[in-house]
């Protein structure tokens, strides 16, 4: 793999940019591998990369029914933060923030991580109690998270309106300075390029239709290009986790629901941080100037990647109430991702009851930020067969043990 650099840029400029090498190969599917990762999104590709980099494993397949990063990796609102409630989540995402800061250098690919901080606007006493509790827990974990007055928040977000009529008053705000955003495609491409360079086969446009079992263990995967014999199958497929797991007779505590997002027409720089009003609306401004806007997940389970209009309407009315200055801004695009929402809105990074079947699913509305830390922890699990301390709490068996990990800090959590 030739490194991207200013010298490579100059060299290729001289030849009219016609001789850039391909970023990754397009290998044919082989009949057997040591490990098959289903899903070439951020999580699947990061898992492959860390399996190769940290564990020296090479005979690995990453297979996807579509293209690299074409699922939820390309459909989210790229918010990266660690201000969760539960200790295992905080630890994982704090480690994730560290990895995001180093990612571009490690992968030799600019992920465009931008640490710009996040303001949360608090409009109910219940949410204020929740964030005060989270502040204490986050401080114990060394994650910066402070409570501000509305006026202090306005210093970070000058377009915030505090004077006009509001359905609910803004009581307080929180400031999480280490939050950031990144370029979603670049993350998938960076991990794909680095994994490919380490010898991992990435096969696109090949759908896995079933996991084949032999007794209590995995024998391989059925795909649209034939059967692949493989003793370890790692699922990183978000929306379709339940469908695939059930082909191996594993039932998951997951529902698939749409989470929608939309972008405005490009505007001059007006928003330097991420703003989230829990349960109402969240937004940030992309480098192109578009406001990237989202709200809560849709109320009805569905695999349709569209999102219902009532949710869009509610999110936009919340947006305009808080930021009347945006009332005449046009929206350019709207879409939804189908998210794998776990019963307790915490992820499942775990072995399954079937030997050789590993799960990295249930990330719901929070999967993007967890790409590096989740992928690395999942790679450790698949390679060693033993969950590290970082992910013990995310075991599928937590539901049998009566230890679900209820979260309050996700976009799909309702007050």
């Amino acid at each position: 793999m030739s490194a991207y650099s200013i010298f490579a840029l100059a060299r290729n400029a001289l030849s009219g940019h016609r001789n850039w090498p391909r970023a990754w190969r397009s290998p044919a599917l082989c009949g057997s591998y040591d490990i098959a990762i289903v899903g070439a999104g951020g999580h699947g590709l990061a898992t492959a990369y860390y399996l190769a980099r940290r564990h020296g494993l090479r005979n690995i397949l990453v297979v996807d029914k579509g293209w690299i990063g074409g699922g939820n990796t390309g459909r989210n609102t790229v918010t990266i933060r660690a201000n969760y409630l539960r200790e295992p989540s905080i630890r994982l995402h704090a480690e994730g923030l560290r990895m995001w800061r180093e990612m571009s250098g490690e992968l030799g690919f600019n992920a465009m991580f931008s640490e710009r901080g996040q303001i949360d606007l608090i409009q109910t006493w219940a949410k204020l109690r929740d964030v005060k509790r989270r502040q204490s827990i986050l401080h114990l974990a060394g994650v910066p998270f402070d409570i501000l007055t509305p006026r202090e928040a306005q210093a970070h977000v000058p377009i915030l309106d505090l004077d006009g009529p509001k359905r609910l008053p803004i009581l307080a705000a929180t400031w999480h300075p280490t939050a950031g955003v990144a370029r979603h495609d670049a993350v998938a491409w960076g991990y794909a390029r680095a994994a490919d360079a380490l010898g991992i086969d990435i096969v696109q446009n090949c759908e896995v239709t079933a996991i084949r079992r032999q007794g209590g263990r995995v024998a391989g995967i059925e795909t649209t290009q034939g059967f692949v014999a493989v003793p370890k199958v790692a699922l990183a497929v978000s929306a379709h986790a339940s469908v695939l797991a059930q082909t191996a007779d594993v039932r998951l505590p997951i529902e698939t629901v749409p989470l929608q997002a939309f972008v405005s027409a490009p505007l001059k720089p007006m928003l330097s941080c991420i703003v989230n009003c829990p349960g109402a609306v969240y937004l940030s401004q992309s480098d192109k100037g578009e406001l990237v806007i989202g709200g809560g997940s849709d109320p009805v389970p569905s695999y349709v990647q569209r999102g219902e209009f009532a949710v869009l309407e509610r999110v936009v009315s919340n947006l305009v109430e808080l930021f009347p200055v945006l009332s005449r801004v046009g929206l350019l695009r709207q879409w939804a991702g189908a998210i794998d929402l776990c019963h307790d809105t915490s992820p499942i990074v775990s072995k399954s009851p079937v030997e050789g079947l590993y799960l990295n699913v249930g990330w719901g509305s929070g999967g993007f930020k967890a790409i590096p830390a989740g992928g690395a922890a999942f790679a450790d699990l698949v390679a060693t067969d033993a969950p590290s301390a970082a992910i013990e709490a995310f075991a599928l068996a937590r539901f049998e043990r009566g230890r679900p990990l209820y979260e309050t800090a996700g976009a799909s959590n309702r007050d």
Partner: protein
Amino acid sequence: MQLVPCPHCGPREQGEFVCLGEAPAHPVSHESLARHLYGRVNAKGVSVELWWHRHGCRQWLRLPRDSATNRFAP
């Protein structure tokens, strides 16, 4: 006042306990209870859902709907 034979603490005074009434036969294993409480088929396709007509007749309905198309089945 009775002494309750706790298998963990030995015989203890009744006031430390709450009586929850007649015990049902232990219904299921933890595994099948978890499957019953949390497990979802989450079908991509038609499944029967419960809908509550909250702002209408207030009836509970069992309606088949296709989650891949968002159409209610006839």
